[in-house]
């Protein structure tokens, strides 16, 4: 048997109602088909002797879970009442449900030897019934008011969920209050802890001491650079090239190009033989002027501020950037005209 068929058998639903799997094991379908329907939760057929339970037909819509539960409960109760008239049993006792009666007509092997899931289910059902009986007995002794629930069931009125308000006595209500207090306290502590962590993380972004390297450096006098030269000396430590070229606008200029790709921040390499900067990460390419022409980089490399110092040396200031697409390369501080 497949699992599906076993489940179907346990539910008492004929296995033939499952679309798949019947052809493979026809023998399994035969006995289960005769198994009677049990009033299990989720079964859509309303139990016949339960007048207060609304049926699917009368409502014109599928039953909600609560209605199904109520139907199952009252169906069980009704059947129980009819089966054992002289001594009315507790309402939801599953031992007297129709399925149990039907199943008990078969010989149920002892639990150790049970292989058929229906036998197993029967054992479970019996064990549950015994426990329920014990529980009923004990609550009846403890609190006399608890008799209200079974009495309601005897009069075939759909009972509310049994046992809930029965079990909560005055003492346990105080216990619940205490539990509520601890839950609230726990959540408060959790919130406070998370808030502290968050505040600590936020504080992390504002260090007491910020060791920033100086942003300016002298790169030599303008005469040190030849036309068409890309000086790479400052790339490794400072992250810029000094370029002297007239490629951008025809004027012979010296400028400091940032060696950070405008696509995703990788450092491009200067390829002298191809006269271009080429990024190793995604293949963006830039002319010697810094203007992008291939690959995904959306805009030209950035220039840093370049001025002539009092001692005749060029000074690069990395704190000031000039972007071509914003028209900032016309700013006289973005280049030095030779």
């Amino acid at each position: 048997m497949t699992l599906k068929e076993k489940l179907a058998a346990a539910r008492g639903r004929p296995a033939g109602s499952e679309p798949a799997g019947t052809a493979s094991v026809p023998a399994a379908a035969a006995p289960t088909a005769s198994a009677p329907a049990s009033p299990e939760i989720g079964h859509e057929e309303p139990s016949p002797p339960a007048p207060p339970a609304p049926s699917r037909e009368t409502l014109g819509r599928p039953l909600t879970l609560q209605e199904k539960l109520a139907a199952a409960r009252s169906g069980g109760a009704g059947a129980a009442a009819r089966a054992a008239k002289p001594s009315p049993r507790p309402a939801a006792s599953p031992a007297t449900s129709p399925a149990a009666r039907a199943a008990s007509s078969r010989a149920v092997p002892p639990l150790e030897q049970a292989t058929d899931p229906r036998d197993l289910a029967e054992h479970l059902r019996r064990a549950g019934a015994e426990q329920a009986k014990k529980a009923q007995g004990s609550t009846a002794k403890a609190a006399p008011t608890s008799k209200a629930a079974p009495r309601k069931a005897e009069s075939k009125v759909v009972p509310p969920r049994p046992g809930r308000e029965v079990a909560v006595s005055a003492t346990s209500r105080r216990g619940l209050l205490r539990v509520g207090f601890w839950i609230a306290a726990g959540w408060a502590a959790f919130t406070a802890g998370m808030a502290t962590l968050l505040a600590g993380s936020a504080r992390f972004f504002f260090p007491n001491v910020l060791a920033e390297p100086p942003s300016t450096i002298k790169v030599g006098s303008p005469g040190d650079f030849e036309k068409g030269q890309v000086e790479e000396r400052w790339k490794a430590e400072w992250g810029f090239w000094i370029v002297r070229s007239d490629a951008y606008d025809g004027e012979d200029k010296i400028y400091a190009l940032s060696s950070i790709c405008t696509h995703l921040g990788c450092p491009p390499n200067w390829l002298a033989s191809e006269q271009k900067f080429k990024c190793p990460c995604h293949g963006s390419g830039f002319y010697i002027s810094g203007v992008n022409f291939e690959g995904p980089a959306p805009r030209p490399l950035e220039r840093y501020k370049l001025t002539l110092g009092d001692d005749g040396q060029l000074v690069v200031d990395k704190s000031q950037k000039y972007q071509e697409e914003l028209g900032q390369w016309t700013d006289p501080e973005s280049y030095f005209k030779v």
Binding site: N269, K278, C281, G283, P296
Partner: protein, 534 residues
């Protein structure tokens, strides 16, 4: 010019490579010759016992020979000497014996079967019940195969592989011919690679029944083995493939291939079974095993094997540690971890904001949204293609072509400066590939209308913005009308909108890639003023 340097260690490695390839084929031949031939989904109940038995000396002989190989190699590892070749010849002998005996026995079995008919033309074979010898192919996989013929074929393949291995062992220098390498390098490029992968994917779906056959799959494995072995004779190919970083990716190709094939084969069989009203394979097989001992033993063995493999791997292949990270220098090429190489390849075609943030987020959200979008209740707990065609094709295209294939592209075929290199090409950092990309606004205003670009950025980018908006505004209702009518009835417009948006974003990747390759398009919408590009 290709770089071939068949050093002695390479030749030795290739010899052992072909030894293992020959072993695999000899085992395949033996499986076909002697194995039980009832395939998936067929009941063995009531079948006559099999008569094709392996001669009992054969496994003993092969076992003893391989034991000798192991002993010689162990001695060699302890006290170096010329025992490796002796071990090799023992292994080769074992392969030959297995392949030839399997072939001979298969032919013999075929003869026994036919003899009754040959003696007397009027003789009719008695109607015997099918036996475990009969090759009963799974439902949906066509005719039974000729066991004798295929045993002989795999036996011959084993012998050929072994002969190649022996020739390397004896100092031969078989290498892939240069003109083949030239041809492969010439046709490879990002376009042909990606478009080829898409076509191969379509072919896989279209010819899935053919591919599901074990014989076809094993033929593909053999061709791949041969191609890979010959490629290993090329220095540049070997340099990339056996790099410790890249070895797991070679393994990943094998794993992805095997699992894809396995799933597709079960799906084909299940589809055929369900079309005939039979229970599918998963319904036939027991769904449960005992925790003790089955599950725990399996887990224990898996744990031990996994640990062993990891330890041996860690000792054999040194983890590549590179220079300390620096913000101003990067290795060339700079590659992401292998599982992110698909994303890195996406970044070549999109703005970082798009390919680095929006698309990955959409991938994750889309995967999370799947159970809510998918209203198809079929295919739960069993392999199927027919019942989940849209889901299968969409997911597998996204995973295999748009993720795995891009990882392969990034790993093996992207070299210095992120240029594309053929599999046998030298990674020349000065390779010049002109990639003068242009934006759509340039194409539209300058090339098409012959005017200069308008200064107002919104007017300038109007064609791209309209095109992008139109992509969504036109295609969503169009797809709804053409393909998704039934889906919308079932699932409603809300789900359809989510589905179609995810689908269009997914398709935007191949569309953008093809646009880049064909017309060098950089961005459809180019607004550097607000750092927004599409």
């Amino acid at each position: 010019m290709h770089h071939e340097d068949l050093t002695p260690s390479v030749i030795q490695g290739l010899a052992w490579y072909y030894l293992l390839a020959a072993l695999a084929n000899a085992l395949a031949a033996a499986y076909l010759a002697y194995g039980t031939m009832v395939m998936e989904g067929n009941s063995r109940v009531g079948l006559a016992p099999k008569t094709r038995r392996m001669p009992s000396w054969l496994p003993i002989a092969c076992g003893v020979l391989w034991l000798g190989v192991a002993i010689l190699l162990t001695i060699q590892a302890v006290a170096p000497g010329p025992l490796v070749s002796a071990a090799y010849f023992l292994g080769a002998l074992a392969n030959m014996v297995l392949a030839i005996q399997a072939g001979a026995d298969a032919a013999q079995f075929g003869e026994v079967e036919a003899r009754g008919h040959a003696l007397d033309p009027d003789y009719e074979a008695p109607p015997r019940p099918p036996s475990l010898d009969d090759h009963i192919p799974p439902v949906g996989l066509g005719k039974p195969l000729n066991r004798t013929m295929w045993t002989l074929i795999w036996g011959v393949v084993a012998v050929v592989f072994q002969a190649m291995g022996l020739s390397y062992q004896l100092g031969g220098r078989v290498a892939m011919p240069g003109f083949i390498k030239d041809a492969i390098d010439a046709v490879s490029g990002p376009t042909s690679f990606f478009v080829g992968a898409t076509l191969a994917f379509a072919a896989m779906i279209r010819y899935r029944r053919f591919l599901s056959s074990g014989v076809v799959a094993w033929s593909i494995v053999n061709l791949t083995l041969l191609f890979f072995g010959l490629s290993l004779t090329d220095y540049d190919f070997r340099d990339i493939v056996v790099k410790p970083d890249n070895v797991p990716i070679v393994g990943m190709i094998v794993l992805v291939g095997v699992f894809t094939w396995h799933g597709l084969r079960r799906a084909v069989i299940n589809d055929a079974r369900m079309a005939r009203g039979l229970p599918n394979l998963e319904e036939l097989e027991p769904e449960k095993v005992l925790t003790w001992p089955d599950l725990v033993y399996t887990e224990l063995i898996a744990m031990v094997v996994g640990t062993l493999v990891l330890v041996v791997w860690a000792i054999a292949l040194q983890a590549p540690l590179e220079q300390p990270a620096s913000s101003t220098t990067a290795p060339n090429p700079s590659k992401a971890p292998w599982y992110f190489l698909g994303l890195q390849e996406m970044l070549v075609y999109f703005d970082p904001w798009m390919a680095g943030v929006v698309l990955p987020t959409l991938i994750i959200l889309g995967l999370m949204a799947m159970p809510y979008i998918d209203t198809n209740k079929l295919g739960n707990g069993y392999y199927t293609y027919e019942q989940r065609r849209f889901a299968y094709i969409t997911f597998q295209y996204g995973f295999l072509v748009l993720w795995v294939i891009l990882i392969l592209l990034g790993t093996f075929l992207r070299g210095p400066n992120w240029n594309f290199f053929g599999p046998y090409e030298y990674w020349d950092p000065h390779k010049l590939i002109p990639l003068n990309n242009v934006n759509l606004s340039d194409l539209f205003w300058i090339d098409l209308l012959g005017t200069s670009r308008p200064t107002n950025p919104l007017v300038r980018e109007a064609p791209g913005i309209l095109l992008t908006a139109g992509y969504f505004v036109v295609l969503i209702p169009l797809m709804a009308r053409l393909f998704f009518r039934k889906y919308i009835e079932q699932a409603g417009w809300g789900r359809y909108l989510v589905l179609s948006l995810l689908l269009l974003f997914m398709l935007s990747l191949p569309i953008k890639m093809v646009l880049r390759w064909t017309i060098n398009l950089k961005y459809l919408v180019f607004l550097p003023e607000i750092f927004f590009n599409i």
